[in-house]
């Protein structure tokens, strides 16, 4: 057995490899840290969770903020306006986009040794976060989503600024990644990625169960699982979460099975020919997984453009809410997949709060009869550098997992 440190995954994890001669026969992921978010919340006023929960994660704190607002709205039986809904999606999609761009270059290009223009990439990231902050006040760690809606009250001037910014983002993105119309004709950095994977004979590595799951519903996704090519609606009540020895991350399964969540899962439920093309050729290998994540950016940019064109500013930003006791469970899409928040409010205070993060789905520790998504993807690999790349193709988030 060999233990390796995996770092720069928004924190760290230890990987315990079992090997037979050179071939990896098993891997276990150990997250050594725990920061006690769920304990911090206990006994607090539910509103405080809107400030505490973004601090779960520096890169997807906005998804945690929105999940918090949603679970409380579900308990208090509040429906927010379409305007608030659209603004929330715009900012959440921005957070997902900046995440994907950071991961594509700082993680994947770096790992594969592909050169890139840091200044251009950095400029793109800044522009996306600026669009986000135009509504949310700041990124990271905004608390602009409150129970009942959003705190901002944009005029058509802010919408005009946002439209200008999203046009710039779209141009900069295409300049870097290339046009994404034809899978047979990749250009720019996406072509570089593809050629590198091809040269290094990595196109087919990292295949897992080819099973996908999403629990959220928004303008981009539905709550759907894909098993043997069959689509079924998913229910949050069928999720099982189990503690593990020696790791602070809990295992999660759906109906006893491990599923992949994330951009590839989101895009596989659509009939998008671009991703279907790669999936037909390479199944759920790192190639399809990486391309799905960067391709999703182009879809989300279009969603933002659409929302900005159709937002009705005359609606209120916030609807009134009244606290009541109860329990709810909700899901929202974060960059890395379905993020689940569950809360119980008793006598106006948080009694329990439970969070299941996307990385828990992808990086659970299964058994040899029932391997998890990551185990299935890695077992059989002989080269640790490749194992490392497969890990990173899931875009792991340690801080989220060890909230």
């Amino acid at each position: 057995m060999r233990i390796e440190l995996l770092e720069k995954i928004e924190g760290e994890a230890f990987l315990k490899f079992q090997k037979d001669k050179k071939i990896i026969t098993d891997v276990k992921v150990i997250f050594p840290h725990y920061r006690g978010i769920e304990e911090i919340l206990r006994g607090r006023n539910p509103w405080d969770a809107l400030v505490i929960n973004p601090r779960i994660c520096g890169i997807c704190g906005h998804a945690h903020l929105q999940a918090t607002a949603m679970v409380l709205e579900s308990i208090f039986q509040i429906t927010i306006t379409q305007k608030a809904q659209k603004i929330r999606e715009i900012t959440r999609f921005c957070e997902i986009i900046q995440n994907h761009i950071k991961w594509f270059y700082l993680v994947i290009f770096h790992e594969l040794g592909i050169l890139y223009d840091f200044t251009k990439v950095h400029h793109l990231i800044i522009t996306i976060n600026k669009l986000l902050a135009l509504f949310s006040g700041q990124w990271p760690h905004s608390s602009y989503c409150v129970i009942g809606g959003v705190t901002c009250d944009p005029t058509s001037f802010e919408i005009y600024q946002a439209k200008t910014l999203i046009r710039q983002i779209k141009d900069q993105f295409i300049q870097l990644i290339g046009e994404l119309h034809d899978p047979l004709n990749l250009t720019n950095d996406l072509q570089k990625l593809y050629h590198t994977l091809q040269e290094k004979e990595l196109l087919l590595v990292g295949k897992s169960h080819d099973r996908f799951i999403t629990f959220s519903q928004d303008s981009h996704v539905s709550n759907i699982k894909l098993l043997h090519g069959q689509k079924r609606k998913t229910k949050l009540t069928l999720i099982e979460e189990n503690e593990q020895k020696r790791s602070y991350a809990k295992n999660v399964t759906y109906n006893g099975k491990y599923y992949e969540t994330g951009p590839l899962a989101r895009l596989m439920q659509q009939t998008d020919p671009f991703i279907r093309y790669f999936h037909r050729r390479f199944k759920d290998s790192i190639t399809t997984r990486i391309i799905a994540r960067i391709y999703e950016v182009s879809l989300l940019i279009e969603k933002i453009i659409d929302h900005l064109a159709t937002i009705d500013l005359s609606q209120p930003s916030v609807v009134e809410s009244k606290m009541q006791d109860g329990t709810a469970i909700i899901s929202i899409e974060a960059a890395r997949g379905s993020l689940i928040h569950q809360a119980t409010i008793h006598q106006g205070k948080i009694e329990t709060y439970n969070i299941i993060t996307p990385t828990q789905w992808n990086l659970s520790n299964g058994t040899s009869q029932n391997p998890s998504v990551i185990q299935k993807a890695i077992i059989g690999t002989s080269d640790e550098k490749i194992a490392n790349l497969i890990f990173r193709s899931f875009d792991i988030c340690s801080v989220c997992t060890t909230h």
């Binding site: 440190l5 770092e7 720069k8 928004e10 924190g11 760290e12 840290h33 920061r35 006690g36 978010i37 911090i40 607090r44 006023n45 509103w47 405080d48 809107l50 400030v51 505490i52 601090r55 779960i56 994660c57 520096g58 890169i59 704190g61 608030a84 950071k102 700082l106 770096h110 840091f118 950095h122 990231i125 800044i126 976060n129 600026k130 986000l132 902050a133 135009l134 949310s136 006040g137 700041q138 990124w139 990271p140 760690h141 905004s142 608390s143 602009y144 409150v146 009942g148 809606g149 959003v150 705190t151 901002c152 009250d153 005029t155 600024q161 005359s314 930003s317 916030v318 009134e320 801080v399």
Partner: protein
């Protein structure tokens, strides 16, 4: 020769690392400084190599805790070792400065020089080379300023006064409403001040959020969110969206303002009705 930096993370959410990545002038900073280790962007060293590294500036993000694993080392020991070698220490974010949000779960977590308002055990060792940049997260321009500059006038919590002598209230677009005591009716409006009803702590919070804007465009209070006082040792308080009052008077006065002065001015301001400030800025119909 570029000055060399190690960015060490303790008990953290990574928010400051990501905040720093928003620095517009990052490329020019990287021409003067080299990050031997940064948790996000490519850097030559691995965590395991840090204790033997030669470097100049230690940036710390996150709280310190004994028994917290950092690679093959203990975080506290690794920090102490690096801090002794560093020429300058920049504590970034309220966790590294005061202990921060995770201290609510584990009281043994501290900042570098401070444990909330108290001096920490490390204070005597490192006070003469540490600059504190609190905030949850710290603003990227503040971090860059602390890295690039060598002389600051520091306040009692070792925060540069150039940033922290101001209150967050200074520069808020709602200042007119504050002056005339026109409170926001609810969240989600352009109109009104958030001090009286929504819990805004900006009038007694040290920081430059409304002078040096976030992401070059906005701030919490400008976008209708109250300031939660995240640059102070008391962060996070409880009841964060609610202003505590005693008999209708806010429990916390604006910084340095005597209660009697505040009440007098409030009484006078409230005796006038300023139609422009009580109406919607843009008519609905």
């Amino acid at each position: 020769m570029k000055a060399k930096i190690i960015w060490l993370q303790g008990v953290t959410c990574n928010g400051n690392s990501h905040s720093f990545l928003n620095l517009p002038s990052l490329a020019s900073l990287l021409q003067q400084f080299e990050f031997l280790y940064h948790p996000l962007f490519p850097s030559p060293l691995q965590l395991m190599d840090l204790h033997t590294a030669d470097f100049d500036i230690l940036v710390v993000e996150g709280g310190l805790k004994q028994g917290w694993k950092k690679g093959d080392k203990d975080l506290y020991e690794l920090f102490f070792h690096l801090a002794q070698k560093a020429k300058k220490i920049v504590a970034v974010g309220s966790c590294a400065v005061f202990g921060g949000v995770f201290k609510e779960f584990d009281p043994t977590i501290t900042g570098v020089l401070f444990d909330k308002t108290k001096k920490s055990k490390l204070y005597e060792h490192f006070f003469n080379k540490t600059v504190n940049i609190p905030g949850c997260p710290a603003h990227p321009e503040w971090i860059a300023f602390a890295i690039e500059n060598d002389s600051f006038s520091l306040d009692e919590y070792h925060r540069p006064k150039e940033i922290f002598a101001f209150t967050v209230h200074s520069g808020c677009t709602r200042n007119e409403y504050f002056e005339w005591k026109v409170d926001a009716k609810s969240f989600g409006t352009k109109e009104g001040c958030l001090f009286y009803e929504q819990g805004c702590q900006a009038p007694f919070t040290h920081g430059s959020c409304n002078r040096i804007l976030w992401n070059e465009i906005n701030s919490k209070t400008r976008s209708g969110t109250p300031c939660f006082g995240c640059t102070e040792p008391t962060f996070p308080k409880t009841g964060l969206f609610h202003t505590k009052t005693y008999m209708g008077i806010p429990a916390n006065m604006p910084l340095g303002v005597p209660k009697r002065a505040y009440l007098t001015i409030t009484g006078i301001a409230k005796s006038f009705q300023i139609p422009r400030l009580t109406r919607k800025l843009i008519d609905e119909n």
